[in-house]
Symmetry: C2
Subunit: 162 residues, 2 copies
DNA sequence: TCAAGTCAGTTGAAAGTTCAACAATGTAGG
DNA sequence: CCTACATTGTTGAACTTTCAACTGACTTGA
């Protein structure tokens, strides 16, 4: 992009070589990693990663049930997207929706036994993939660094988006 | 399979706390970061990130033109996806397709002046967003670490997928 | 109590991606 | 040369995500 600069007075500050290298490596690594994980999950468990995450979140809470808006926040998906996704999960029999007893606007998504079983089938292969593609690529020190870096990014984006 | 099986166990080896922390921070950071960048680009330049990347790749090569398959590799998209995307870019007048002179199967995607201008309009805001959300979140040491980590992941996935 | 405003969740259409199938061309071996 | 196979790129259908509009229910303040 070095030449596609407008003739504006306020020249943006482009990335230097180190910044460029980090940014590209980061972006590319996420692409190849999440592609690989998606394909593994689709192939071995016939579900997209988004479904898997919904099932995971539900499985981890008391009663295996969450308000739709909670679930949307925890999976970082829009309400619309979650609504469509849960509709499809309901068709598969993995989740059911129930009315919320304390708020009549609310809906509660609840993991079914079938859904729990589907998650149980999918999880080992997925964890193995995460381990082989990510964990084993790094040493312990890098793992710590990655955690710190991730947390810093999360904090910065949250601050900027506020 | 990264399965630390005992003599008879088929229990997968789950992630320990450190691994879990790194994995979740990494995954969550990519979600929030790429969401923020996507929204910035969509809002300020009316284009999805995928379009931007195609334009960037084309802008960086001699003649601002690439074979479709080259372009697909460099943006890590499937051929089908690229084909659809370039069709839409062509509708916008940002790219044109030409026959490849040396291989009659081939098509060459070429950046137009309009496309170049669109990229020029979009780039400063995008770079600013990358800088404020990613670069400024990290110190120089972390930037180096991130580059090394990204490169390690890329190598590991490439090895595993081979 | 009621009106205005907010919040929860859904919906349908548009936009984008994936998947499998396909036509056309190139390549290699007998 | 001819056959078999591989590669390039496109297509349409199915699927997923996004966007804007919408319903119904909660909340607040007068």
């Amino acid at each position: 992009m070095a030449d596609a600069r407008g003739a504006t007075s306020t020249e943006p500050r482009w990335l230097d070589d180190d910044e460029q290298r980090a940014w590209r490596a980061y972006m590319w690594s996420t692409k190849v990693l999440f592609d690989a994980l998606d394909r593994q999950l689709q192939r071995d468990a016939d579900m997209p990663h988004a479904y898997f995450e919904i099932l995971v979140r539900l499985s981890e809470v008391e009663g295996q049930a969450l308000r739709m808006s909670e679930l949307a926040d925890q999976t970082r998906s829009s309400r619309s997207r979650l609504s469509h996704a849960v509709a499809r999960l309901e068709e598969r029999g993995w989740v059911v929706r129930e009315d919320c007893p304390t708020d009549r606007r609310g809906q509660i998504a609840k993991l079914t036994d079938t859904g729990y079983a589907a998650l149980g089938d999918a999880a080992p292969g997925h964890v193995a993939a995460v381990r082989s593609f990510l964990i084993e690529a790094l040493d312990r020190e890098q793992l710590d660094q990655l955690a710190a870096i991730g947390e810093a990014i999360i904090a910065k984006v949250a601050a900027g988006a506020a």
